[in-house]
């Protein structure tokens, strides 16, 4: 990407991440500018936390889950939260996930893995 494209993508990312914690926005910016893998992981963590539905108590669990945590069974994701999260990651990082690839995401590690593999290529 040339510098103009990078800045355009950062601008779009900032718009998409309105309402997210500052560290998530910063992580997106750092990844898009420098390709920093640690920043990408922090971005995924922020996106997972944002899309994780509030439980029956109405309170969100803010602690970062283990990598083996299952999105649906452990983190409470429903199919709507899954498509919303996938759509955002797609838009943000140009992943172009197919429906089958999205359906194959079972755990936090699965999400991190596919994002690491695809974002670097995008």
């Amino acid at each position: 990407m040339n510098p103009v494209e990078v800045e355009t993508r950062i601008g779009r990312a900032r718009e998409m991440l309105v309402g997210y914690p500052a560290e998530t926005v910063e992580a997106a910016e750092r990844f898009l500018r420098k390709g920093d893998a640690g920043a990408l992981d922090r971005l995924v963590a922020g996106v997972i936390a944002y899309h994780r539905p509030a439980g029956a108590s109405g309170k969100k669990d803010e602690t970062e889950p283990e990598g083996s945590a299952r999105l649906v069974e452990d983190l409470g994701f429903d199919s709507l939260a899954m498509v919303e999260m996938s759509f955002l990651l797609d838009e943000l990082l140009g992943l172009r996930l197919s429906d089958d690839e999205m359906r194959a995401l079972r755990t936090y590690d699965d999400v991190r893995g596919v994002v690491r593999a695809r974002a670097a290529a995008a």
Binding site: V18, Y20, D90
Partner: protein, 418 residues
């Protein structure tokens, strides 16, 4: 067979003339309009709209939207909403609090929800364009829910856990009038004990500017000259939006729970279509006349029993004239006061019937007769109506609210002091 009286026990108002009943009452008493200058496009001749204050619902990221600090809307609630449903949510919260009802009480299966909205042209255009740009390979998860006409009832009925009758009405500017009429029937016929009726519309350029294609909008830039029902110089309507929420309850159900507020009885309603034109009123107003006569018969009343009529009166040349002719035939020489609230609020489209009934409920409850704002010289073709120039104190024992929509649908609703 009807067996029960239907009462109005809660109101919620997010409008161009105020965001609660006290503010709306003040505006109607002072005939203070809520039309604002808009600069959507420099070249665009539409320069005025009725837009509620305290709301900023621009752009397509819900996290950047702002609403009145009086309401909390969680991310998981707002994410599937277009602007009209945010207004609708706040009006409903207000109406439920006003009625003394909590969310928990609404899932009893005896409570229903009827919505009236034209949907969200803004969200629809955005999602359709994005989908086209991606050649159908990528569609926003909420594209449909953000856009279509039923989104108001989808969002709110689900949020409130309603298990009774839920549907939406799409008869354009008669839609919330129809919603109220059919909600009245649900209760009167014993099918439901309580109905929440919400009319909501978003005053965006995508919603309003298209009406200029029919030459239906005023080209004036001064509010006092722009929205002037029955005036000889009227030249079209000014668009508006927001939401009006009304709680209807069977008298017995309201008594059982000790409802704290009763604004008025909804005593009956009637409808009749013009059978004339897709877009224009039938020039003699025969459809709206039939709707009014049916509403009065439904309520078991005569025109002489009325103290006030809230006319549809959008400020278009043809529409106001047709309604005036119908009103003259129905009201005769009775001298019943008539006024059109769209001078103050603009024409809020699908929301208009509910807004008219809500304002008239306040008039019945508090004892004032709303005056006709922005009337300099009554059109001779609208002559013979008693159009008071000011809002005056005075008992309103019974009143009628008219609304009419595209295709010639007409609805009239009769309110009576409870």
């Amino acid at each position: 067979m009807r067996t029960r009286r239907v009462l109005i026990t809660g109101l919620g108002l997010i409008t161009p003339i105020g965001n609660d009943r006290a503010a709306v009452t003040r505006s109607v008493r002072a005939l203070k309009h809520g039309l604002r200058r808009v600069e959507w496009f420099a070249e665009c001749p539409v320069k005025l709209a009725g837009i509620p204050e305290e709301f900023e619902l621009e752009g397509f990221n819900h996290a950047a939207w702002r609403w009145s600090a009086r309401y909390a809307i969680g991310r998981e609630t707002v994410r599937s909403m277009p602007p009209n449903s945010v207004y609708g949510y706040c009006a409903t919260e207000q109406a439920l609090a006003d009625a003394g009802l909590t969310r928990e009480a609404l899932g009893d299966g005896r409570t229903g929800f009827f919505g009236a909205s034209a949907g969200s042209p803004r969200m629809m255009a955005h999602h359709v364009n994005e989908t086209a740009a991606a050649r159908g390979t990528k569609v926003h998860p909420w594209a449909v829910m953000h856009s279509v006409a039923g989104t108001l009832n989808f969002n709110l009925a689900a949020h409130y856990g309603i298990r009774g009758a839920v549907t939406g009405f799409v008869s354009a500017c008669a839609a919330s009038g129809h919603a109220l009429g059919y909600a009245f029937d649900e209760i009167a016929l014993g099918r439901q004990d309580r109905m929440i009726v919400v009319g909501a519309e978003e005053p965006t350029w995508e919603m309003l500017v298209p009406f200029s294609g029919l030459r239906a909008l005023s080209r004036q830039t001064e509010p006092e000259k722009a929205s002037r029902p029955f005036d000889v110089e009227r030249d079209g309507f000014v668009g508006g939006g927001g939401a009006a929420a009304i709680v209807l309850e069977a008298e017995d159900a309201a008594e059982r729970r000790g409802a704290k507020e009763v604004y008025a009885e909804l005593a009956g309603w009637g409808q009749a279509a013009d059978g004339h034109s897709v877009a224009q009123s039938e020039p003699e107003g025969r459809g709206v006349e039939a709707a009014m006569r049916r509403a009065l018969a439904d309520a078991g009343m005569n025109a002489g029993d009325l103290n006030y009529v809230s006319a549809h009166a959008t400020g278009t040349v043809v529409g106001d004239r047709a309604e005036a002719k119908a009103l003259r035939r129905v009201l005769g020489e009775s001298g019943v006061a008539v006024s059109g609230m769209k001078a103050l609020t603009g024409h809020t489209l699908s929301m208009a019937g509910a807004l008219s009934v809500a304002i008239t409920s306040l008039a019945v409850r508090e004892g004032f007769v709303p005056g006709q704002a922005h009337l300099r010289e009554a059109d001779p073709e609208c002559a013979g109506l008693n159009l008071p120039r000011e809002t005056r104190d005075g008992a309103v024992r019974a009143a009628m609210c008219n609304c009419s929509g595209f295709g010639g649908s007409n609805v009239a609703l009769v309110l009576r002091k409870a």
